[in-house]
């Protein structure tokens, strides 16, 4: 990814990252990541895509300074990733929520806020606001996280990742364990973060999810970047044109198809665009809730 695409001011720069895991005798065991370079600027939502074991989480951990790269370098805001100044400006959601099971969501957020050195008043305000934002205010906020479902724990994880109002948000499989409503909320949140000018790096093996929110993607296979670029550029089929119309009377579509073929077009297809299953599901859910509310109002 080039400097032009990030507008010159890079939040995240990774060059030639390589990670070789070694055995007890220091012999090379696995090359998890090999020559990965990334660059991201404000307002970009970058998707790190790849199948399981492709090196996404290893790359993220090297970017965070949690794993030492065997080769290559990382800069966050122009700083070393292990520097407290850089870490104070980023939020990280790990692949598994990794929470202390005996702490409640409120205590969990207070704990992480303490690590940021937040003053008590700000800590209380941020904790309350984030618990509301992830839908865990009320009684759930005071139950030990160990009692939570995977999806609820994921919400606590998301809240802790946003605690410091980060400029760079790194989300490792953010929707894992969430129901369709939760997935949609996370996608909306990621879009919102991008729109606010924050840099978001998210890893996923769910392509539809990345397609919905990412502005750019890098596809990792066996630890190497096999394709990267703006999503629109990568997915656009320059040899195809699509028309979408409403209010066309039945039968007229066939006439248009013949007209296009007469104009020299090949492989002309006429179909009706479908909703995504996610949108259909959310629509049914919204309708049911509206009916329930109307019933209750009676």
């Amino acid at each position: 990814m080039t400097e032009e695409t990030t507008g010159g001011r890079a939040t995240l720069e990774a060059e030639g990252l390589r990670k070789v895991f070694r055995d007890f005798w220091k012999r090379p065991r696995t090359v998890a990541v090999d020559g990965v370079s990334l660059r991201a600027g404000p307002g970009e939502v970058i998707g790190l895509l790849g199948p399981n074991g492709s090196g996404k989480s290893t790359t993220i951990k090297m970017i965070l300074g949690l794993l030492q790269p065997s080769a290559g370098r990382v800069r966050l805001f122009g700083l070393d990733p292990s520097s407290p100044a850089a870490r104070a400006r980023l939020g990280y959601l790990p692949e598994l929520s990794n929470l202390h099971k005996f702490l409640t969501p409120r205590e969990t957020l207070a704990y992480y806020a303490g690590l940021f050195g937040m003053p008590a008043a700000l800590r209380r305000d941020r904790t309350a606001a984030l618990l509301r934002r992830v839908g865990l205010d009320g009684r759930a906020a005071d139950r030990p996280v160990g009692e939570f479902s995977k999806g609820m724990a994921r919400r606590v994880g998301l809240a802790q990742a946003l605690l410091n109002d980060p400029e760079l948000v790194i989300l490792d499989e953010p929707t894992s364990g969430l129901d369709p409503v939760g997935r949609r909320e996370v996608k909306d949140l990621v879009r919102e973060l991008g729109a606010e000018g924050r840099t978001v790096l998210l890893s996923s093996h769910l392509l539809a999810e990345a397609e919905d929110v990412c502005t750019r993607v890098a596809i990792l296979v066996d630890g190497r970047v096999r394709a990267e670029g703006r999503l629109a550029d990568l997915l656009e089929r320059r040899d195809r044109v699509r028309f979408t119309a409403a209010g066309l009377p039945d039968g007229r579509a066939e006439a248009f198809r013949r007209e296009l073929e007469a104009a020299g077009a090949t492989s002309v297809e006429v179909d009706r665009p479908a909703l995504t299953l996610e949108n259909y599901f959310l629509e049914i859910l919204r309708r049911t809730r509206a009916e329930e509310a109307a019933e209750e109002a009676k």
Binding site: K61, L64, L66, L67, Q68, P84, A85, R87, A88, L90, Y92, P94, E95, L96, N98, L99, H100, F102, L103, E107, A110, Y111, Y112, G114, L115, F116, G117, D142, R143, P144, G157, Q160, N164
Partner: protein, 327 residues
Amino acid sequence: MRRVFGAIRPVAVSTAIEGLQQPVVLLLSLACFVLVALQPVVQLHTFGDSARLARDCGMGFLLVFGVLVAAFTAGSTLAAEIRDGTAATALAKPVSRPAFLVGKFLGSCAVAAVFAWCQTWAVLFAQRTAEAWVETAKTAGDRRDALCALLSLVVPALALGLAALVNARTRRRFGLWFFAFLAALPPLAAALLGLFARDGSWLGLAGWSLGLDLRVVPLAFQLLLLVAVFCAIATALTTRLATGPAVALSFLVLMLGFLADGAAAGGPAGKLLYALVPDAQHFWTADALARGGTIPAAHTLRAALYAATYCAAVLALGCVSFRKKDL
């Protein structure tokens, strides 16, 4: 600098809260309290040494169970956090690895301190239960303080009951409240006991006396220091080893520590061993209390300095080992 080291407190507090809620820590504390409270009741043929036996056994229990509690907190907390990724989440925040390690150590020490506070009361009660030696023209033997024995068994039972009540009524966490009650009830029980003589007769407010032999307190503190040294060794080892090997190795170092002063008199290997392992004999000074003796404050202070220095050295090595650890 303040931001980096300011992280020690939240890490220590969360470690302590987690530790106190571990069911195994609760069970060990409960078992230790009951065993210490019961042992003067089951002693036979003590020939006037029942109080000393109660004290020595109680302190032995405090040390062994304290080390077990430390093994389950210091030995498991960091290893488990590295394994399950909790450490990675915390260390992606502006926290230095040394601050995180020190916070883990202090949190484990806090759990050990709560344990030691509760068990010291158990030893004080056990001593009072066992203390009376009665000689008449026809017979001689121990007369136990039945009220003290009863109260020292009621305390843990009441702590369990009250914690259960708080949990049922308010959903507050059972483990934390159990320890809160187990720490708060013994001083109240001691105040109540002061109203009675050892034979159970009523003294009233005017005749109130504490009636507990507080000379064991410095000894209990020294044992807590030894447990803290164990915590430091276990915490440092878990930066590289899994819980099992780290705890086993920590036990080995502690055992060698009890033999270290003998080894120091030997050849260079013995001297090297003495230099490397903590001299546990500095902390076990129960014999000083025999025949009414006391532990000099200067010794306790020196033991504290020795423990602090040893912990600092071990934790420094732990920090070096943890600095580049892949998480």
